[in-house]
């Protein structure tokens, strides 16, 4: 898999403030594998994801390339249909909108929806299918609900997971991590994941990582090595890390 997902000279401005400056990075990893993005709060990781998805308020210059196709200018749903999917860190609650109703409308066929029975069970999701989306759910349930909503998308090539391990307990961490790996294999897709703690890395096959610092990539290398380095030295040292110097 070559050049499945990369950004070129990407700058992102939010409310007049430039958060990402002239970022060029190839995030491509093989099918079923993860690229891990580390970085302190406010360094631009979520901004990168949201800009790539085309959310409003994110002014973008430079290129966002999915399998060679430019995403810039496309509406969010068109990017999704092109193969780019996004898992929220903190999704909004939709009162009066039931998960199952939306899922069926998305799929358009009750019989096909039944084919997701295994996914529903893997994510222990039956209890919130008939509830309003993200209303009154625990942290773990929100993450599992998000994952199920990604599972029903078609033709996804790249998944962007925004802190799937935040705010969940150890049982959910394992469930979420293992499901994410299965999802990539099933969809024949790759994933990019943002994580603070790195706890989820033991459940996923992460083969490449980078540290984002002040809107730029400060370090690229093996995820576990980067994580150990961050734990030992802190993010600020990444700016001068050996990998970058090379």
């Amino acid at each position: 898999m070559g050049d499945m997902f990369k950004v070129k000279n990407l700058s992102v401005t939010v409310d007049g403030q430039e958060i990402i400056t002239d970022l060029t990075q190839d995030f491509t990893v093989p099918v079923g594998k993860f690229f891990v993005l580390f970085g302190p709060n406010g360094c631009g990781k979520s901004t990168l994801f949201r800009a790539c998805m085309g959310f409003s308020k994110y002014e973008v210059s430079g290129d966002i390339l999915l399998d060679g196709k430019k995403m810039n200018g496309l509406k969010i749903d068109k990017r999704v249909k092109s193969g780019l999917a996004y898992m929220y860190q903190n999704p909004p609650s939709l009162k009066g909108v039931k998960f199952e109703d939306v899922a069926k409308e998305s799929i358009g066929d009750d019989l096909v929806w039944k084919e997701y029975s295994k996914d529903i069970d893997s994510l222990d999701a039956r209890k919130f299918l008939k509830r309003d989306i993200n209303v009154g759910l625990s942290g773990g349930e929100v993450k599992r609900s998000e994952l199920l909503s990604l599972a029903i998308l078609e033709d996804t090539k790249v998944f962007l997971f925004d802190e799937p391990d935040s705010g969940i307990d150890l049982d959910n961490l394992k469930k979420v991590g293992e499901y994410m790996g299965d999802l990539l294999k099933k969809k024949k897709a790759m994933g990019i994941i943002v994580t603070h703690s790195g706890d989820i890395l033991k459940y996923i096959d992460a083969v490449k990582g980078a540290v984002m610092y002040r809107g730029k990539i400060a370090c690229v290398g093996k995820p576990m090595e980067i994580l150990e380095c961050i734990k030992e030295k802190g993010y600020s040292k990444c700016v001068n890390c050996e990998e970058v110097k090379k």
Partner: protein, 343 residues
């Protein structure tokens, strides 16, 4: 008279008996009397006799010709019925006087529809309705409009809720109408309760003034007004008034309105009057467009902007009909499905 085909195409029979139909200004044809429910034409002399005997005070009208019904649910009885106002002549002004009485301990559920034939233009519906909910009695009054796009509708409703009684109104307008002005007044005695729910879709060039006035006269009386509106480009006003008079009376007003485009206009005027320091009255309101955060969230699930907006509006409707009778919810969802939300 409206032809049968128009009628069946427009109005959903929810299968209740009796089915009371008031056509134009013609007298009610089918009267009925069972142990629990009495239905009479307003012109029946027995109605006047009952009013006099019970010393009921009615609103006045100076009409020479009008139609109307008298419905009485007997003491400690349970009853339900569906009613329908029809107008079948172009430009006709239908005039209706209704009286509804639920005697002590009774429980009545009414499902009411209003409609005009497809060919009928410029019709007007005026009504004067007096409702008496007796001690510890309950009336659930459900109204789903299906007037035509040129219809003008002016109901004048006055309700008296006696000690421990309960009056719940579910008022739904989703299909096209030119103008509706509906501001019922409800007086609530000791321990009585009233809830006025309204859910409306305001089409372009449509004027809607849906509110209500609740007078919490009795000790421990409770009143709520919930106005929900989706405005697709018309003019929506909601004048809501709560008057706290009785000791320990409590009331709440809320208004939620979604504005789907720049042509949509919403005015919410909640008024709270307290004449007793021992009352508790509150209000809250949200007027605004559909949340872009919710739209974008649904777009990440593959929905187009328009489809996402439709889902959010449908969610708004689902929230608004929670607690309404199942038949009303089913009918509302059916209307939504057929109308594709009307936009």
């Amino acid at each position: 008279m409206m032809n049968l085909e128009d009628f069946l195409n427009n109005y959903m029979n929810i299968g209740l008996n009796p089915y009371i139909v008031l056509n134009d200004n013609e007298p009610l044809l089918l009267e009925s009397d069972t142990d629990s429910l009495e239905v009479l034409s307003i012109s029946n002399p027995l109605v006047g006799k009952y009013i006099k005997e019970k010393k009921l005070v009615l609103q006045k009208n100076d009409w020479k010709k009008y139609t109307g019904y008298f419905i009485k649910c007997a003491k400690n009885s349970f009853g339900n019925a569906q009613t329908c106002f029809l107008t079948s002549e172009e430009g006709l002004e239908q005039r209706v006087q209704n009286i509804i009485v639920v005697e002590e301990g009774g429980h009545l559920e009414l499902f009411t529809g209003c409609l005009s034939g497809k060919h009928v233009k410029g019709n007007i519906h005026r009504s004067v309705t007096d409702i008496f909910v007796g001690e510890n009695a309950t009336l659930i009054f459900n109204m789903i409009h299906s007037w035509g796009s040129t219809s003008k509708v002016y109901p004048n409703v006055k309700v008296h809720v006696a000690k421990g009684g309960k009056y719940i109104s579910n008022y739904i307008v989703w299909e096209k109408v030119k103008e509706i002005i509906s501001n019922p007044t409800v007086e609530v005695d000791d321990g009585g309760q009233t809830i006025l729910n309204s859910l409306s879709y305001i089409h372009p060039k449509s004027n809607m003034d849906l509110g209500g006035n609740i007078k919490l006269l009795g000790k421990d009386s409770v009143g709520e007004i919930h106005s929900s509106a989706v405005n697709g480009g018309g003019d929506f006003v909601t004048n809501t008034i709560l008057e706290g008079v009785g000791d320990n009376s409590k009331g709440h007003i809320d208004c939620n309105a979604l504005l789907l485009n720049d042509g949509a206009k919403v005015t919410a005027i909640p008024q709270l009057f307290s004449k007793n320091s021992n009352t508790q009255l509150t209000h809250e309101a949200f007027l605004g467009k559909v949340s872009s955060e919710e739209i974008e969230y649904l777009q990440t699930k593959g929905f187009s902007h328009d489809d996402a907006e439709e889902i959010v509006v449908k969610g708004f409707v689902n929230k608004s009909i929670v607690g309404m009778p199942e038949k009303v919810q089913e009918r509302m969802l059916d209307i939504l499905e057929k109308a594709k939300l009307g936009f």
